[in-house]
Amino acid sequence: MITLEWVYMLAGAAFAAFALLGLVDRSNPRRLRNALFWGLMATSMWAGDLLGDFGNGLLVLALVAIGGIGLGRGTRGEVAPVLRAERAAMHGNRLFLIALIIPATALIGTFLFKELPALIDVKQATLISLALGVLLALATGLALLRAPPSLPLQQGRRLMDHVGWAAILPQMLASLGAVFAIAGMGEAVGTIIRLGIPEGSLIGAVIAFGLGMALFTIVMGNAFAAFPVMFAAVGMPLLITGYHGNPAIVSAIGMLAGFCGTLMTPMAANFNLVPAALLELKDDYGVIRRQIGTALPLLAVNILFIYWFAFP
């Protein structure tokens, strides 16, 4: 039976390739650190179940240490813009069709594999289909574009260098949520928040959740980081356990309420300050000023959506 383990084997192979190609990339002065970092990720994917809890913890500490002192970025494998333009003209919209294979396979597989419980671990149908989609897109791309098989890995390594340590941020935040849960964070914050929400007011709790997501995101500049906090504080204890809200809807739209906060904060420099500099605006906050008028009504809409959809 095909399980998530197979996907981990594939992901481990990808990370191992990024590590090895990084190791021999002389254009990157910190190639050793990059190789170690992605090598540890490959180890985690391949052998995480054998390392034990404490072993995995040490692996995370090593990742944090290497990421903390900083990874490098190699320039090897960059394709000249003239050549890319030439190829774009030759291949046209076929390029989008190849990219479309991934989400299409993931979507079809999610529904189709439900009918094949003997072959596929149904609980993980989407992630398995996603991996299958990647392999299909890769095979199609190599055939249609007549590219050498080594090209995708080298290009993947180049893009991985650009993402850097931020690649493991979502996984780290999900894990932090586990420590929050063990420590009883939800009860602690919930007690305080409940002081501010009228007892038994569902709309009050939903507003606290949506506004809290936006406010924490404004302060931290990152909705991903705000989510474990607000989920432990209001989402889980009040909306899901207390009022029996649909967890998928509460979380999905709650995250988007956080994104409204991202539109309004200079802390999200990549999205709000860097473009102002790129466009040579005199007002650093020029982009944020244009976004507030969309962010505030959209935040209100998100709060209403949670209230309507998650509590039938």
């Binding site: 990370f15 813009p81 190829r87 989407t126 995708p152």
Partner: protein, 226 residues
């Protein structure tokens, strides 16, 4: 109540722009110690959760495909599509760009467009040209505003398109976090609930762009009447 220290650490750490990986680790240690756990127990709990949520990081297996396509001109092709919007009013141009950005992001192609890739070289100059065709020469302050609208539209399109893709970081983060609380959801159950907000974002931002068009056109008419 001391476990709240963990939240304080993460908020202050992100605010002061320390490396987020270090901040997360410090927050985990502070929370665990405050709850009376010892160091080994905290590291083990974190390690166990990290291993259980490995699927959050499997999205990176898409990079070789994206890299292959980009080496063959995917971004240049995206630019050509945006270039096809030339000649419209600034409001329609930016609305069209927002739609393109939402759709490509929903397909997982978050990096085919963006501030360095498309906004600075393409969208902002096209928006300026369109605005000046509508309202005549613009004072510097308004030229700045039009450029800022271009960047803002890119952000809105990206943020409220990407979560429809069922294997984006935020969706997998939610799946991983819910699992720590014993709730199992499929990525698709989460990503379909990004669709209502995506439509609302398009309508709200699109309405504001339509009003921008009206303001610029009204000025042309007013000037013509003088």
């Amino acid at each position: 109540m001391w476990v709240l220290l963990g939240i304080a650490v993460i908020v202050v750490g992100f605010m002061l722009r320390f490396n987020p990986l270090l901040v997360i680790m410090a927050a985990a240690l502070a929370t665990g110690l405050a709850a009376g756990l010892d160091l080994v127990a905290i590291i083990s709990a974190f390690g166990r959760a990290f291993n259980d949520t490995r699927y959050v990081s499997i999205i990176w297996i898409v990079l070789p495909v994206i890299g292959l396509l980009e080496a063959h001109g995917l971004r240049e092709r995206a630019r050509a599509l945006i270039d096809g919007l030339r000649g419209a009013t600034v409001g329609r141009l930016l609305t069209g760009y927002m739609l393109l950005r939402q759709i490509t992001a929903a397909l997982g192609l978050t990096s085919v467009a963006g501030h360095p890739q498309t906004v600075r070289p393409l969208v902002a100059p096209m928006a300026l040209a369109a605005a000046e065709a509508q309202a005549g020469d613009l004072p510097e302050a308004e030229r700045e505003q039009i450029k800022a609208w271009s960047a803002a539209t890119d952000n809105v399109g990206l943020f409220f398109g990407e979560d429809i893709f069922l294997a984006i970081g935020s969706i997998l983060l939610i799946k991983g976090l819910l699992e720590q609380y014993g709730i199992i959801v499929q990525p698709l159950q989460l990503s379909v609930w990004a669709i209502p907000t995506a439509i609302a974002a398009f309508l709200i931002h699109g309405f504001r762009l339509w009003r921008l068009d009206r303001r610029l056109n009204a000025r042309r008419t007013a000037e013509g009447a003088e």
